[in-house]
Structures are given as structure tokens and as C-alpha cells.
Symmetry: C2
Subunit: 133 residues, 2 copies
DNA sequence: CGCGCAATGTTATATAGTAACGTAATCGCA
DNA sequence: TGCGATTACGTTACTATATAACATTGCGCG
């Protein structure tokens, strides 16, 4: 079957899992070039979009970067909290918010297909570190 | 005062207002080059970020593009509904959702500074057009 | 086998964004 | 008013992000 494609996905997922912060497609590319000299951008982007479609990876739109899905259940829409101090990203799942959101924007007849919810701010540990000083 | 900077902002806002869909910084650039040959990317980006900071323009993160704020009250966070068929963007304001969102992600101690909420889907008119066929 | 489709590789290029530095306008102040 | 300091703005060049387009490979199937 499509062993090659799946192989890239696995490799990329491994790279992403080594980080706790989102990394760019080109960071992935550079990392993989250490072991696979001839890999090129389209390969990375194809694998990343397959992973994204399968819910294993989230694309962080506001950073143009990618992060491995951290929660057990993939394939749902996650809310991403992005700490602007340390770069850490936390995922939350909140079906109720998605429902409310759909109902608000549905009033005008809009039918939602894909939600992008990203919140920038300060995470707990960076927040307390700042409060201290 | 900084008349030049403000002039660019006004010009750019005029360009954005001529469209009902988000346009990229480089589209703005091309348009302005028709009348100002020597304008260059940093000028556009500086003006766009000033406009964004002032709430006159929204950056659509998931499209890497910009759109003029359509609602009377600027300076609040808007929910953007993006039609993938016609490209139209509709703004909604829903303080309650923002509050719920903050409370969900605040549970872990995260303190939000900036919200990005973008919903891709199909707008009312494109939806009915499709249902018809 | 060998045709045809779908996945992958490869090259090149398009699109988006910013660093760095020079210059000009502006402000504070003697 | 003159002048140094500061900030805004212009300009060049570059870096980063993403995809189009075509070549090649491998695989299913008559």
C-alpha cells in the first residue's frame, strides 16, 4: 500500500512529539533532512495535511505551525491556548462552546464546517513567574 | 504629526473596504502600486498592523489575509464566519462565548489576551444555491 | 504483459513577512 | 532659535511559508 506516505507521517509525528511547542513545517523539514537528505517541502506538507485530516496533528493557524494532538481522542475540534511567553500550547475540548458558536453564527444561515479557536495569552506557570517579580 | 503613516492607513482601509472578501497584504500592495509606484511591503504591513491594533481591520489568521472591520463598534474581538464557496466573511460579536471560553481555558490557570475565532463553512446564500441543484 | 490510475518525488516558483539600516521629521530643552 | 535625541518612515534585501506543475514510480487489473 502507500507505505512511503505513511512512513513520512509516522516520522513527522515522531518529530512533532519531541516538542511541546508548535513547530513550523520547515523546522520539521530540517530535522528530517538530518536522516533523509533529499526530502523536500511538498512531501512534508502532504504528510502534514494527511495527519491534520486524521486529527493527529493540529495546524496552529495563528502561528503557521504544527503541533501533535495531545489528547487521547483525536478527530474533534480542539481549542488551543497558546502561551506567548513559553510557547506551550494546551488543548481543551468544549463541545458546549462549539454548539453555542454554531448557534450564534447559524442565525444568519451560515453552516459551519471547521472551527479555528486559538487563544493567545499567558499560561499558569509563566503567569505566576511574572507575578512574583 | 505622523501624517504619512496615517495616510497609508486611510488608503489601505479604502482598498479593503472595496472588497467583501479578505485580501492579502500583497493584493493591497499591488493595488496601491497603481497610484504609488514605490510603495513596499513594510509600509503595508506597518499600516495593517496599526489598523489591526485599532480594530479597524481584522487579520484572518486562517487565510493570511485582511478584511476591514464591518461592524460599528471596533476594538472588540469578533467571530469571523468564512464562506469557503464565495469567500464572504461575516462578523459576529458574542461576549458570552468569549466569557465561556475564558472560563474553560482559565481552569488551568491560563490567562487569555487575544482570541482568534474563525469558522469556515458555507454562507446562507451559497448553501441554498447548493441545495437547489 | 502492459495499460491506466493514483501516490510520490522533484523542480521551480509563488506568496507572505521581516530584519536591518539609512534618512527625515519631531520633540525636549537650554 | 538651535541642536541633540528620539521616533517614524523609506528602502533594500532577505527569510519563511506554501504550492503548482510535471516526472516518475509502483500497483491493480484485464
Amino acid at each position: 500500500m502507500n507505505t512511503r506516505g505513511e512512513m513520512w507521517q509516522a516520522e513527522i509525528l515522531r518529530v512533532l512529539n519531541r516538542h511541546h511547542t508548535p513547530i513550523s513545517a520547515y523546522d520539521v523539514l530540517e530535522t528530517l533532512r538530518e536522516t533523509h537528505e533529499k526530502i523536500s517541502p511538498p512531501t512534508i506538507y502532504r504528510a502534514l495535511s494527511a495527519l491534520t485530516k486524521r486529527g493527529r496533528v493540529h495546524r496552529v493557524e495563528s502561528l503557521n505551525a504544527f503541533i501533535a494532538c495531545q489528547c487521547g481522542q483525536h478527530q474533534h475540534t480542539s481549542i488551543l491556548s497558546i502561551c506567548e511567553d513559553c510557547g506551550a500550547v494546551e488543548e481543551s475540548v468544549a463541545p458546549k462552546i462549539l454548539k453555542d458558536l454554531s448557534s450564534v453564527i447559524g442565525k444568519s444561515g451560515f453552516s459551519p464546517m471547521r472551527h479555528v479557536i486559538e487563544v493567545h495569552g499567558t499560561c499558569a506557570s509563566c503567569g505566576s513567574r511574572k507575578a512574583q517579580s
